[in-house]
């Protein structure tokens, strides 16, 4: 079924905007709960070892302290498979520095924090291992993500071609440890009473949180309610339950009938809320002199914690982006005594495409070919790995549209050719791609009332992306009614189960099930039928997309950057970014632009600033606040232009959408790095591109 677009494609201001601007939109921590207690954690000061003693006397006797929670008195929990990081206060083991090892529950957050500083722990420390480098010998092929895409690809005879190709490239690129740092930190409020458990939490998916909580505590799902009405950003860090949720639940269990609130500090965000792990990637390309790729090899290594296997799957886009008769990918991971990394905006694809697209720029230079022309010459007709046709693919269209808008034609390819008042000027280009994902398992209920109003219920999440608005537009078109007739309710497990807001799958997944429910409702009402007096309610399950096995489903884009590098100090400025994207139907051009622009800005930040510095002696990231871990400030962001091509894709889902949450960050860093090379003649292969790498010595 394909839905006719009426509201879809219209610019509609955010439905949730006025409440947020006025400050009346409630976030998890702000829920007005009766007489809440507050929690503050104690964090380990070793990176590996055992707790052999804990002295809570001073903390416990502090006025206002209700309880000091520790491994001895904490309720026992089950640990769901593959979620070892949620094993909080269940043993004496310390798996990383800053792990939660105790918690103080008190009348105020100030008392809790102060008392937490009085808890004394004694450790038996063991030598720790926290450094990732390419010549380790303990990498393995990750298994956890292998169900989603192959961890190893072998097509043709890569090695033979790499040794014989006329043009050969062999480069190593590295990306830094990056933190999501949403504006709203991770926050939880929990109330455990006879009626069950109520949890207010800042999350990308209430259903997933409920499932984890019921498994942890062996609860009946019917007795757990998870509410997350507004979320102040997440970027992947709130897609799963994190240790802070578990610690809050343990605390709430100890003070029944009393709500417990817990908000991570910014410093704690650097050990409890996931991060994008650093990657080391090797790209080998063999090509004809005209730039046509003969062999392409991409290997990527990253590190996970000792608790959970998470591999930053940088090689996923490799098989999608360019035609290569001989193709090889290798995805490897090792484990260290560090906090657990997790998905972060375009996981894998974002750092992976940094390496791929820098290598393509280097290949263009080697071959003396314009980098846009090089990409056009390597455009595949079918998906290079699966052999499936693309449902739609407009990479060339994006490159060409962008070239025209950016005035690429007049670019002098010679590096270090433009110096304006002491600033070296350069431009660069890179491709973007992301898979068009649809998650299974969602359900939706639509209730029609005789007054012509429709209530749509689904436990979806709006983490600040505009879901509320865009999903209302989808529902309106699916029902064939004006947007004003639709009342969308999300963010509550009281509504039907929904997949999480991850992998740019939100609109594609929730939209599809809403379309299904709307279709059933319209069938029940019949042609021209009126709504019965008692109303009519339909609940639908997520339909299967039969095209998913017949087509390769991906979005594409092209990013252009102009940079200025101070010839003396090495300071880098990016006055201009342009992104041209082909992502199927754009449901709301305003919120979609914000998503893509935000992604590009985060890509700029990744290119120039973001780097969590881990001190190997201690095992923790030392720059653990926003003064020392830099993200781009307003002054760093120049003119950012976003343009979307019209793209009609009948195969992805009934709306024809592909998702825009992550596409925007893919390729930005490469476009900037390539522009820095063009400006200076210096190729920086290690992010971030800080001025010490460019200063004139």
């Amino acid at each position: 079924m394909t839905v006719t677009a009426r509201a879809m494609g219209e610019v509609i201001d955010r439905i949730d905007g006025p409440d947020k601007v006025r400050g009346v939109a409630r976030y998890a921590f702000e829920q007005p709960l009766d007489h809440p207690a507050y929690l503050y954690p104690v964090q380990s000061t070793i990176a590996r070892g055992r707790i052999i003693g804990i002295d809570c006397r001073s903390a416990s006797s502090t006025p206002g302290v209700l309880m000091v929670l520790n491994q001895y008195n904490a309720p026992r929990t089950n640990i769901p498979a593959g979620q070892g990081e949620l094993n909080i206060l269940q043993s004496d083991r310390v798996a990383f520095r800053n792990q939660f090892v105790a918690g103080v529950i008190a009348e105020t957050s100030e008392i809790a924090r102060h008392a937490a500083s009085l808890v004394r722990l004694e450790y038996q420390e063991e030598p720790h291992d926290v450094e990732l480098h390419g010549d380790r010998d303990d990498f393995w092929v990750p298994s956890a993500a292998s169900a989603q895409f192959p961890m190893e690809l072998d097509k043709g005879d890569v090695d033979a071609v790499l040794t014989s190709a006329p043009v050969r490239l062999d480069r190593v690129y590295t990306t830094a440890r990056q933190y999501h740092n949403p504006l709203e930190p991770h926050t939880t409020a929990a109330l455990w009473s006879e009626d069950g458990l109520t949890l207010y939490v800042s999350t990308q998916g209430v259903s997933g949180i409920r499932d984890v909580v019921t498994a942890l505590f062996g609860l009946d799902p019917g007795r757990v309610r998870v509410v997350s009405s507004n979320v102040g950003g997440a970027f992947g860090s709130k897609v799963h339950a994190n240790p802070d949720v578990v610690l809050t639940l343990l605390a709430a269990r100890m003070v029944p009938n009393r709500p417990v609130k817990f908000a991570l500090t910014r410093q704690q965000m650097f050990s409890q809320a996931g991060y994008r792990p650093p990657t080391v990637q090797r790209l080998q390309i063999g090509a004809e002199r005209d730039g046509r790729i003969m062999a392409f090899s991409h290997s990527s290594t990253s590190a996970t914690s000792k608790l959970v296997e998470y591999a930053e799957h940088c090689t996923r886009p490799t098989a999608t982006i360019y035609a290569a008769p001989n193709l090889r990918t290798r995805q490897l991971v090792t484990s260290l005594d560090v906090p657990t990394p997790c998905i972060m905006r375009a996981p894998g694809d974002c750092p992976g495409m940094f390496a791929i697209e820098c290598a393509m720029d280097e290949l263009a230079v080697e071959c003396g070919i314009d980098p846009i022309e090089l990409r056009i010459r390597n455009e595949p007709e079918i998906h290079p790995a699966s052999g499936l046709p693309f449902s739609s693919r407009n990479l060339i269209g994006c490159l060409q549209e962008g070239a025209q808008r950016f005035d690429w034609e007049h670019r002098d390819p010679k590096p270090r050719a433009r110096n304006e008042l002491g600033w070296l000027v350069g431009t660069g280009v890179a491709a973007s791609t992301y898979h068009a994902l649809q998650q299974s398992g969602s359900m939706a209920t639509i209730r029609a009332d005789p007054d012509g109003r429709y209530t749509v219920l689904i436990a979806a999440a709006d983490m600040g992306t505009g879901t509320w608005t865009a999903l209302t537009q989808v529902a309106a078109d699916a029902l064939g009614v004006p947007v004003g007739s639709v009342d969308l309710r999300i963010g509550d497990t009281a509504y039907p189960n929904a997949s999480s807001a991850g992998g740019s799958s939100g609109i594609a997944s929730w939209g599809a099930v809403i379309c299904e429910a709307a279709g059933q409702l319209r069938d029940r009402l019949g042609r021209g039928g009126s709504i019965p007096r008692q109303g009519l309610e339909v609940t639908a399950r997520m339909p299967e997309n039969r095209y998913a096995s017949q087509y390769a489903l991906h979005s594409f884009g092209a990013q252009f950057a102009e940079v200025r590098v101070n010839a003396e100090t090495g300071e880098v400025r990016v006055p201009r970014l342009l992104g041209v994207f082909a992502a199927g139907r754009i449901v709301n051009p305003k919120t979609a632009r914000s998503q893509l622009l935000g992604g590009m800005t985060m890509g700029l930040s990744m290119a120039l600033h973001e780097e969590g510095v881990l001190d190997p002696r201690f095992g923790h990231v030392v720059n653990q606040d926003l003064a020392t871990y830099h993200v781009s400030s307003n002054a760093d962001v120049g003119d950012v232009e976003v343009h979307c091509l019209d793209e009609d894709d009948p195969y992805v889902n009934p709306m024809g959408t592909k998702g825009v949450g992550e596409l925007g960050i893919v390729g930005t860093a490469a476009a900037i790095a390539n522009a820095v090379y063009h400006a200076t003649g210096v190729r920086i292969r290690d992010l971030p591109i800080t001025l010490d790498k460019l200063v004139a010595w």
Partner: protein, 455 residues
């Protein structure tokens, strides 16, 4: 945060007396640094004596043409003050390059001078730091020290002082007035902060209970040009990797006088006297600027992670002096091009910020707001990064500071016989081309310790 008492007194003397009896107490100014450190358990005062309403929050002209800044003047007000923007645009530029608008609204002038290092180990109580906990060892020397010191460091500490304002004040030869348990005294800002030595727990020479009450800026000689150039990891809201406050006085191609202060390189704002001595009295040339910078930095003792600061400081010193010397020497032409607005003809990176200010100049000229532009209300955020070389305007007795109709060079010299505070060495106003020997002679700079209250 540990529990603490909060105290207020009626006057400065009462606050000093109170804190003198509280060995673990601290003065509370704007709180933008101290309160953060208390949350982190780095600062553990058991009593806070609020001085925000005690010291002056006014900026006043002094009889000698200088300016007195009350210690409680917020950084925002100081940066936007017409007197400061006219006579000491260097100071305005330095202030506006620091922190954020919100922090500058809250931070006081006295407190800015006394902010602590942002070394990541100092700010984390689970790691050793000799400054925070004497004898616990310096974690930075063998750890993360990218932003830390290259000059005057010791095996005990490589911290840097984070203030931009203080760097400009050192170049301006400002003097702080204090009231302490032993009475009043005056200290040149250049001598306020210490080198770490073996006791880095002491940032400054102030005694416990000694409160900064005011800062005096001596008048600048006629015709000198000044500039603050800050180099950092992002375009705004970051501490300096290297900053340069430079004041240059050139006549007939010769350096009559020069003052250079460096930020981001040492435990204190670093007065580059070696470079100054190398330049003073000699011809103006890029080669000499470079030699002078290299002579100063020959003393540098960088660590592996901050060795880049040596060429960065050299390049920044040379470029700042070139820009001050003018386009003939390859300085930026046109001079008002702000280095933080990389594309003079392109989009202004701070446009959004400036867009909040209805009185801000148009974006294209915003980076180069001329001192004539005084239409902004005092509390409106002035454009950031207005750090183009500017000639300080001479004080004008008959002209209220709000009136900027007069050309900048038409200032009347003040009566050279006007009374001068005894604690302002090198602050004598100049009429005509004559040079104040106090400015020319570095010996007199560090000469007799000034004493006694200002006139």
């Amino acid at each position: 945060m540990r529990p603490f008492r909060y105290e207020r007194t009626d006057d400065v003397a009462g606050a000093v007396a109170l804190l003198s009896r509280e060995p673990q107490g601290a003065f509370l100014g704007g709180g933008t640094n101290l309160v953060d450190l208390m949350r982190l358990d780095v600062a553990r005062p058991d009593v806070l004596v609020d001085v925000r309403r005690l010291t002056s929050d006014r900026i006043e002209e002094l009889p000698d043409g200088g300016v007195r800044i009350g210690a409680a003047v917020p950084n925002s007000d100081l940066a936007a003050d017409p007197l400061i923007r006219t006579r000491y645009p260097l100071l305005s530029a330095a202030l506006l390059s620091g922190a954020s608008g919100q922090l500058r609204n809250l931070a006081t002038t006295g407190g800015n001078l006394l902010q602590r290092t942002r070394c990541v180990y100092f700010q984390n109580v689970t790691t050793g730091c000799n400054k925070r906990q004497p004898g616990s060892g310096c974690s930075a020397i063998d750890g993360y020290h990218r932003e830390l010191g290259i000059l005057g460091i010791s095996p005990a500490c490589v911290a840097t002082h984070p203030s931009d304002m203080a760097v400009a004040m050192v170049a301006l030869e400002a003097v702080v007035h204090t009231l302490g348990p032993n009475g009043e005294r005056s200290i040149p800002v250049a001598e306020l902060h210490r080198l770490p030595g073996q006791d880095p727990e002491h940032d400054t020479v102030l005694e416990h209970g000694e409160l900064i009450t005011a800062i005096d800026l001596p008048p600048l000689p006629d015709g000198v040009r000044a500039r603050y150039r800050k180099v950092r990891d992002r375009a705004s809201y970051a501490f300096a990797l290297v900053s340069v406050a430079a004041i240059l006085d050139v006549a007939d191609g010769m350096v009559r006088d020069v003052r250079i202060a460096l930020g981001g390189v040492a435990h204190k704002p670093w007065r580059a006297r070696i470079a100054e001595d190398a330049l003073r009295g000699g011809p103006v040339s890029e080669e000499r600027f470079r030699q002078a910078a290299e002579a100063e930095l020959a003393e540098a003792d960088p660590l592996p992670g901050n060795a880049f600061k040596v060429p960065l400081a050299r390049n920044t010193i040379v470029r700042t002096l070139l820009d001050l010397a003018g386009p003939d020497l390859g300085g930026m032409a046109p001079p008002p091009a702000s280095p933080d607005a990389p594309d003079p003809s392109g989009p202004d990176p701070n446009a959004a910020e400036r867009g909040l200010d209805p009185n801000a100049p148009p974006a294209a000229a915003a980076g180069a707001a001329p001192p004539q532009d005084r239409t902004q209300p005092r509390h409106a955020a002035p454009p950031e990064e207005a750090e183009q070389p500017q000639e300080a305007t001479r004080p004008q007795e008959a002209t209220p500071p709000q009136d900027r109709a007069q050309p900048r060079h038409a200032a009347q010299p003040q009566d050279p016989g006007a009374a001068q505070p005894p604690n302002n060495p090198g602050a004598q106003p100049q009429g005509g081309p004559a040079i104040d020997p106090a400015i020319m002679d570095p010996e007199m700079e560090s000469g007799p310790e000034p004493s006694g209250p200002p006139a």
